[in-house]
Every structure is written in structure tokens, then in C-alpha cells.
């Protein structure tokens, strides 16, 4: 019931926003919808934590990893909605956007959130595919939001590359259903029925299907070499949308991919999927590292960092064992900290009206709170102790060193380069001489509170995992 309530609330809010002509009411309804989603997601997570799998209807099923990602969607969705209100008000005050754009934004934001909830809760792989495709369609106009040639180019690239990827993923998804096609079930194939009939799945077909699914959903996850759309899309979208794209959507696609991994592992030797994840993971880290080193745009820097971190998560799942625990922890920390960084980047953009690193001078003096958030975010995301990502990286690398020592050492080396590259850019932005023509001071307290809440959550989760979340993580580790 909770899942249907979340999705209907978000969809109804999106529809109401089309009709409403007052900005305040649109903002109010969007906040209410995201609050409802957050509250109900916590209820679902508690139920999954208590019972293992929550499946109120045949069409919906939430497992432990699904519940964790639901919490991520709800938490960052809520924070991004709060931040969006002030962010868009500031942009309206600057004359960048008008009311129509604001309305379009909140309509699409609510549809986007609903589609992500559907993707992780859908009990059918095809239904999950439809939902993932819906996330592409709902975000295409959010990426081209500013209607500039570069934004339209980014959105077009996003639409075409993801559509091709997802069609290949669709073919892979259908190939998995060869095991159940003869069994009837009125054509409805669920994740459970795929798993139950895994003995009927031809190992060769399973291998081909996983490759299609890996390329398809891997495109959405941002694995190199299918990542080319990601830096463009994530850097051109409004900051709160970038936070959702980088912090949430990548994980949603990864969860769907991992569900296929479990099915494939039941048919063929699990080294097949593990080696593929390790190969794509390491390649993603390598590509992102060298581009981060010479990056000139701070939003693109964050986007490439997402590619790097999704690569690290893939390595964790590829290594198995403790690596999976590290990967799930990394997924949680990365989602939260990447959102902090993108929201802070949004505030910096509002102040400086530029996303070029060279144009940002003395940001710590000009935006003291945002500057501190960004610097802490940088320390968290690059794995500096004592924050959570330090431990998640340790877990992943320590597991990898046993079975894949060369890959692990290489990954560690690349992570160190990322730290150096990131540090160079952060120093240039925050510790350089401040720009004379920029007024000192934060634009609004409502641009500070949302990232501050996320940062507090990260710091708490770095040292203390609540029992219900701990059960979810442990259960997810044993399943994936």
C-alpha cells in the first residue's frame, strides 16, 4: 500500500502542478509529496528490515537493496525538492527562468521521482525497464532546462545514447524470460519466477543476456565506455537535478543490473559476471581519473567523480565477499555526498554565474558555509578518514587484494590520483584570491540547510549505522 501511495502522490502532484497557476502552491505540493515519499519509504524500509522482502501486491516487491535505494531516492528527493525552491527563486530573480519553467520543473521532478520509485519496487523486470526508460524521458527536458544550445546537445546525447542502451537492455531482459516463456503465468514474468525457473535457462543465453543487460543498464549507470552522455547531462541540468541524476539514478539502474547478476550467477560460474563488473569498474575509474586531473569545469568534475565512484562500486560487487559490503556502504555514502557537492556547486553557480573552475576565486571567503560543505564533501568523496567512504574503500580493496591483487593496487593508485586532481581543483576554487566583483555572503539560508542536513547524515552514518539499516545492509550482502 505504501508503494502505491508514494507513486500516486507523486503522480497526482505532477498533474496538479500542470493546472496550478500559483508558484507557492506548486512548491508547497511538491514539498508535501516528497515528505510523504520520505515517510512511506522509511515505513517500507522498516518492514523489509523486519521481514526480508516486502511484496504487498504481485506487481511490487522490495528486497533489502531495493529498500536501501528507496531510502536514498526519498531522502535525496526530499532534500533536492527543498533546495530547488530557493534555487529556482534565485534564478527567477536573476531573470534566467520564468514561471512556466518553474512549473515544468516541478512537474518533471515529481514524475522523475515516481519513475525511480517504480524502477526499484517493480516486481517485473520489464516493468522495471519501462520505469527506467521513463526516468530518461522525464529527465530529458530537465537537462535541456535552460534551453541553451549546449544544454540541448547534452539532452539529445542523453536521449539517444540511453535509448540505444536501454533497448539493448530490453533485449537482454527478454532473453532471460526464455526460461519461463513456456510456463504460462499469463505472460507476467517476475524477478521471483525468473529465479525459480533458472534451471531452465540456457547458460549460453544467460551469458549473452547478461552482456546485453550490462551494456544496456551499464549505459545508465555510467560505466565507461558507455559513459559519454553522463558528464554532459549532469553538468547541464539544474543543480538539484544533477544531485538526483548522480546521487540517485545511477544506483537505481545498478540495482536492476545486480538483480540480473544474481540470476546469471545461478546458471553460470559467478566469475563470469564478476570479471565483467571488475573490467567495466576498473575501466570507468581509469577514464574518470585522467579526465578529473585536467578538468576545467567543476560540475563536470563532479560528474566524472560519479563515473569513478560507480566504478568503485562495480569493483566491490565484482570482488564479492566483504567487497559487497563495501560496495553497498559506498553506494549510500556516495549518493549522499555527491548530492551535497552538487547542491553546493549550485550555490557557487548562483554566486559566480559560471561553472568554470578558473572563474571561481576565493569561494571559501565569499561563500563560507557552502565552501566548508564543498571541502568536507571533497574529503568524504575522495576517501579521507574518518568518513565512511574511507572504510568502504578499505573494505573493497582489502577483499580485492586477496583475489585480484593487480586490479586492487591499480584501483588504489587511481584513487590516489583522483585525490590529487580533486585537491588541485578545490584549492584553486576555495583558497585562491577572491574575485573582487563578487559580493561576499551566502545567498540564502535555504541554500545552506539542505546540504547541511545531508552532511550531518553522512557524518552520523560514518560512525553509527542504525540497527534497521544495518539489518538491510547485511541482508543485501547475503543476497547479492
Amino acid at each position: 500500500m505504501e508503494i502505491i501511495f508514494i507513486i500516486t502522490t507523486l503522480i497526482i502532484t505532477a498533474l496538479l502542478n500542470i493546472l496550478i497557476k500559483r508558484r507557492f502552491v506548486i512548491e508547497f505540493f511538491s514539498i508535501i509529496a516528497s515528505s510523504v515519499a520520505l515517510f512511506e519509504s522509511i515505513v517500507v524500509a522498516l518492514k523489509v528490515s523486519a521481514s526480508g522482502v516486502y511484496s504487498p501486491f504481485v506487481f511490487f516487491s522490495v528486497d533489502s537493496l531495493g529498500a536501501i535505494v528507496m531510502l536514498i531516492i526519498a531522502c535525496i528527493g526530499f532534500i533536492a525538492t527543498i533546495y530547488s525552491i530557493q534555487y529556482l527563486r534565485q534564478e527567477t530573480a536573476k531573470g534566467i527562468i520564468g514561471f512556466t519553467r518553474v512549473r515544468q520543473y516541478f512537474v518533471l521532478l515529481n514524475i522523475f521521482l515516481a519513475a525511480m520509485f517504480l524502477a526499484v519496487t517493480a516486481n517485473s523486470p520489464i516493468f522495471a525497464w519501462i520505469s527506467i526508460e521513463a526516468t530518461t524521458l522525464s529527465t530529458a527536458f530537465l537537462i535541456s532546462f535552460y534551453n541553451k544550445p549546449s544544454a540541448i546537445e547534452a539532452a539529445w546525447k542523453y536521449l539517444i545514447i540511453n535509448s540505444i542502451g536501454l533497448l539493448l537492455g530490453f533485449l537482454g531482459t527478454l532473453l532471460y524470460s526464455t526460461s519461463v516463456s513456456s510456463l504460462g503465468e499469463n505472460g507476467f514474468v517476475s524477478w521471483q519466477s525468473l529465479m525459480a525457473n533458472v534451471a531452465h535457462l540456457d547458460p549460453l543465453i544467460a551469458k549473452i543476456a547478461f552482456i546485453f543487460v550490462l551494456i544496456g543498464y551499464g549505459t545508465k549507470v555510467g560505466f565507461a565506455p558507455m559513459h559519454t552522455w553522463l558528464p554532459d547531462a549532469h553538468s547541464k541540468a539544474p543543480a538539484p537535478i544533477s544531485a538526483l541524476l548522480s546521487g540517485v539514478l545511477l544506483n537505481v539502474a545498478l540495482v536492476v543490473l545486480l538483480r540480473f547478476k544474481i540470476i546469471t550467477d545461478a546458471v553460470v560460474d559467478q566469475h563470469f559476471t564478476q570479471n565483467l563488473l571488475i573490467a567495466f569498474g576498473l575501466f570507468s575509474i581509469a577514464i574518470a581519473t585522467f579526465i578529473i586531473l585536467n578538468q576545467k569545469n567543476y560540475k563536470r568534475l563532479l560528474a566524472y567523480s560519479s563515473i569513478e565512484n560507480m566504478g568503485i562500486i562495480a569493483l566491490g560487487f565484482g570482488f564479492g565477499g566483504l567487497g559487497i559490503l563495501g560496495a553497498i556502504m559506498h553506494m549510500i555514502y556516495h549518493s549522499l555526498v555527491k548530492s551535497v557537492l552538487f547542491l553546493s556547486a549550485g550555490t557557487i553557480f548562483l554566486k559566480y554565474s559560471s561553472t568554470k573552475i578558473s572563474k571561481i576565486g576565493g569561494a571559501l571567503a565569499i561563500l563560507p558555509m557552502t565552501g566548508i560543505f564543498f571541502i568536507i564533501g571533497f574529503l568524504v568523496i575522495t576517501g579521507a578518514p574518518p568518513f565512511g567512504i574511507f572504510f568502504s574503500k578499505i573494505l573493497i580493496v582489502s577483499e580485492g587484494i586477496k583475489t585480484y591483487p593487480i586490479v586492487s593496487v591499480l584501483a588504489l593508485f587511481l584513487m590516489a590520483i583522483v585525490f590529487i586532481g580533486f585537491f588541485k581543483h578545490v584549492s584553486a576554487m576555495f583558497f585562491s584570491e577572491k574575485s573582487k566583483d563578487i559580493k561576499i555572503g551566502e545567498n540564502s539560508v535555504w541554500l545552506i540547510i539542505p546540504p547541511a542536513i545531508l552532511l550531518v547524515i553522512i557524518i552520523i552514518l560514518s560512525f553509527y549505522i542504525p540497527p534497521f539499516l544495518s539489518r538491510l545492509i547485511n541482508d543485501a550482502v547475503s543476497h547479492y
Partner: protein, 215 residues
């Protein structure tokens, strides 16, 4: 319908993709996509007659409305509005394109893909042709410089996957098929809006003119 007739329908789907590779006119590409979709609808109608499953008739009718009528009309109106008579060229020249088409078709029929084409042994030839159509559609999207051609390529890829699904006996429940068709319809609307935006901002549908994004 006997296997020869089905083979003919699928051969038309395949032939249209080759035509899409070499045609220089957008109008012909839009119409040929409609014809390709008609072949898919006829194959689904045939499944309805063979199985008596009414939901297949419903899906076939929806495909007919969305892909055979609405999509080509969308494209033709777009072509007329922006006077896009000639499509943008390909990255590879025609002889090279034809050589790659031949290689991809050969690969789809090779033993490498036997696990896929052998899902239903009786339909092996049909599945090989459907797989070749998938490869050629993918190559069409990559090789074409025009935004409209890319959209038609993606829709053609979707048609080829549907054909593969039918002959492999992998049809999904009517509700999910409805969801897929709805998705395609929305995709079509969004893609059309984007084409207009691209034309407005870049004055052409040539995607090589879009070079505002740099690392």
C-alpha cells in the same frame, strides 16, 4: 500464415533497414518506417489468428495506430515544417556501409549467435534475420549524422527487437506490452520536440554541427 509468408514479412523489415541506410530523402525514410511497422503489426495479427489471443489483436491495433499512422505523420509534418527534404549524410560512404551491412548480416547468421537464433529451432532462419535487423538498426543509428535518421534508426531497432521477441516466443503480458507502447509513444513525442529544438538552435539536423560540449 506459413513460414514462407512470415519470412517474406521479416525480409521486408530487413530490406527497409538497408533502404534506410542508403536513402538520401527523409520523406522516403519516414514512409518506409511506417511500412516496416506495418509488417510488425501484420506479424502480430498473424499471432492473433494462430493463437486466438484477443490481447494480441489489441496490441497489434495499438502498434498500427502508434507506429504505422502516428509516427510517420509526425515525421512528415516535421519534414514539411522545416523543409527537411534531404537527410544528412552518413559517416561512412555507401560502398563501405554496404560492406559492413554484409558483415553484420553474415555475423548474425553465424554459429557464434546460434544460442540466440536457436531459442526456437523451427524459427532459426527467422531469428537470424531478426538478429541481423537488430545489428543493422544499431549500425544505422551510429552511421547516420542526421537527428531524424537517428530517431528512425532507434525506432527501427525497437521494431527489430519486437520481431525477434515474437519469433522467439518471448511475448510479455498485454499490460506490460501496453506500457512498452505507451513508452514508445512518449519517446516519439519527446524526440520530435527535440528535433524542432535542434533545428531552431543549430539551423540543421546535422548532429556534427553540435559541438558546444567539451571536456
Amino acid at each position: 500464415m506459413n513460414i514462407l509468408n512470415l519470412h517474406f514479412l521479416l525480409a521486408v523489415v530487413f530490406g527497409i533497414i538497408i533502404f534506410l541506410h542508403i536513402t538520401k530523402k527523409n520523406f522516403g525514410a519516414a514512409l518506409s518506417y511506417g511500412l516496416q511497422s506495418l509488417m510488425i503489426a501484420v506479424i502480430l495479427f498473424n499471432s492473433f489468428f494462430e493463437t486466438g489471443n484477443v490481447s494480441l489483436l489489441f496490441i497489434a491495433l495499438l502498434i498500427f495506430i502508434v507506429k504505422v499512422i502516428i509516427a510517420p505523420v509526425f515525421f512528415i509534418k516535421l519534414i514539411q515544417k522545416h523543409e527537411l527534404t534531404f537527410s544528412v549524410s552518413t559517416y561512412l560512404n555507401t560502398p563501405l556501409t554496404l560492406i559492413i551491412i554484409a558483415i553484420l548480416t553474415f555475423a548474425a547468421h553465424s554459429q557464434k549467435f546460434a544460442p540466440l537464433t536457436g531459442i526456437v529451432p523451427a524459427n532459426q532462419a527467422l531469428l537470424s534475420l531478426a538478429l541481423a535487423s537488430i545489428f543493422l538498426s544499431l549500425f544505422l543509428v551510429i552511421n547516420r549524422k542526421g537527428a531524424l535518421s537517428q530517431i528512425i534508426g532507434i525506432l527501427s531497432l525497437e521494431n527489430s527487437i519486437v520481431a525477434f521477441t515474437i519469433f522467439a516466443g518471448l511475448e510479455q503480458s498485454p499490460m506490460l506490452q501496453l506500457g512498452i507502447i505507451f513508452n514508445i509513444f512518449i519517446w516519439l513525442v519527446i524526440a520530435r520536440v527535440f528535433i524542432s529544438m535542434i533545428y531552431k538552435h543549430f539551423g540543421s539536423l546535422d548532429i556534427t554541427t553540435m559541438n558546444n560540449l567539451k571536456d
